[in-house]
Subunit: 164 residues, 2 copies
DNA sequence: ACATATCTGTTATAAAATAACATAAGTGGC
DNA sequence: GCCACTTATGTTATTTTATAACAGATATGT
C-alpha cells in the first residue's frame, strides 16, 4: 500500500494482512460463486482488481491498483480500474474509504451494504467492523429520509500506535 | 450550489436554505466571538469562505468556493480556499462531506467534532444530525482504538424526493 | 522596534476521476 | 450457426480535486 499516513510511523499495518496464496484463491473462487448466483460476471479485470485488494496489507489507492494491475509491470488505464472498483463496490466485494480515497476488500459477510471502519492515522490500518446503525436509522426515520447506504469512518490510533 | 445529484431531480434543496442577511451576520459575529475565546483568528479569507458556505443552499465544492470567492467575480487561488476550509473544519465551523467532495457549514452547536449527515441523492440536500455514537465507541473500544473523530454519511432520498 | 510565529499570495504541479467513443465479448431467439 | 442486442472492455483525452514550495505580509510578545 502507499503511504497515506503519518510518515513518522514505524509500526506495521496491524489489522488485515494480505491473504496468502491459498486463502487468496479461496476468496476468489468464493467471489466467482457469488457472482454466478446473481448472474453477474467476475471478468478478468474485475477479478484482477479484487485479487490486488485481497493481497494488500491495507487500503489501496486507485492509482496503486492502476500501477500494479499488469503482471508484467504494465499499468492499467484508469477507467479499467475505476470500472472494476465500481463493480466490486456494487456487489459488496470492496469498499471505498472516502476519507482516504482508497479501497479495501470487504472483510465481512457480503450481504449488507453498510461500511464502517476504524482507521489508524499513524499506521494506516483500516479495520472493518459491523456497525449498529439503529441510532442512525432512527435519525433518518425522524427526518423522513429513506436511506439506501451508510458509511462510517472513525479516525484515531490503533492499539499498536498509541503512546503508552 | 453545483449540481452534484441526479439531473432529473426538479425538487428544491430542502434541508438547509442559505441564511438571509441578518442571520448571516449573526452567524459570522458568533464565529468571531468563538475565535476570540480560543485565540484563533477569523481572517478575511476564512471569514469569506464561511460566509459563502452559510449563504449556500447546500453543500459547496471547493471549486465553487474558489469561483465565488471574489466579490468582483475574481476567483480565488485554490490554496486560499483549501487553507480556509482546513481552518474552518479544525474549529468545527464547517464539515467536509467526503462522499460528495463538498463542504457545509456546521449546523449544530460547534463543540463536538462528530459529523453525521443525511444526504439526498436526488436533490443534493445534506442534513446534519446529532449521531448517537455509542455503538461505534463500543466497537472502537473492543478493538482498542483511540478514536479522535468520526464521520457518518447516510445516502438516500429525502422526504420531498421519495416516490409516493 | 525587533524577533518570532502565523497567515497569505502566487506559481506550478500532482493526484483522483470521468467523458466519449470505438471495439469486443457474452446472451438469447431463431 | 447466425443475427440482434446488451454488457463489458480498450483507448485517448480531459476534467476535477488537491497540494508543494516559497516569497512576502501581518500579527504577537518583549
Amino acid at each position: 500500500m502507499t503511504d497515506m499516513h503519518s510518515p513518522d510511523c514505524t509500526h506495521e499495518d496491524g489489522a488485515h494482512p494480505g491473504l496468502d496464496e491459498a486463502h487468496l484463491r479461496h476468496a476468489l473462487v468464493n467471489a466467482e460463486h457469488r457472482c454466478l448466483d446473481i448472474q453477474e460476471r467476475l471478468t478478468a479485470p474485475r477479478r484482477r482488481v479484487l485479487e490486488l485488494l485481497l493481497e494488500a496489507d491495507g487500503p489501496l489507492k486507485a492509482y496503486d491498483l492502476i500501477a500494479a494491475f499488469g503482471q508484467d509491470g504494465e499499468p492499467a488505464k484508469p477507467p479499467t480500474v475505476y470500472r472494476a472498483l465500481e463493480f466490486l463496490e456494487r456487489l459488496g466485494f470492496a469498499h471505498r474509504i472516502e476519507s482516504l480515497n482508497a479501497y479495501v476488500p470487504c472483510r465481512l459477510d457480503g450481504s449488507g451494504h453498510a461500511a464502517a471502519f476504524l482507521i489508524c492515522d499513524c499506521c494506516g490500518a483500516a479495520e472493518e467492523f459491523e456497525p449498529d446503525f439503529a441510532p442512525g436509522r432512527a435519525a433518518a426515520a425522524a427526518k423522513g429520509y429513506a436511506v439506501t447506504s451508510v458509511t462510517l469512518e472513525a479516525r484515531g490510533l490503533c492499539p499498536a500506535c498509541q503512546p503508552e
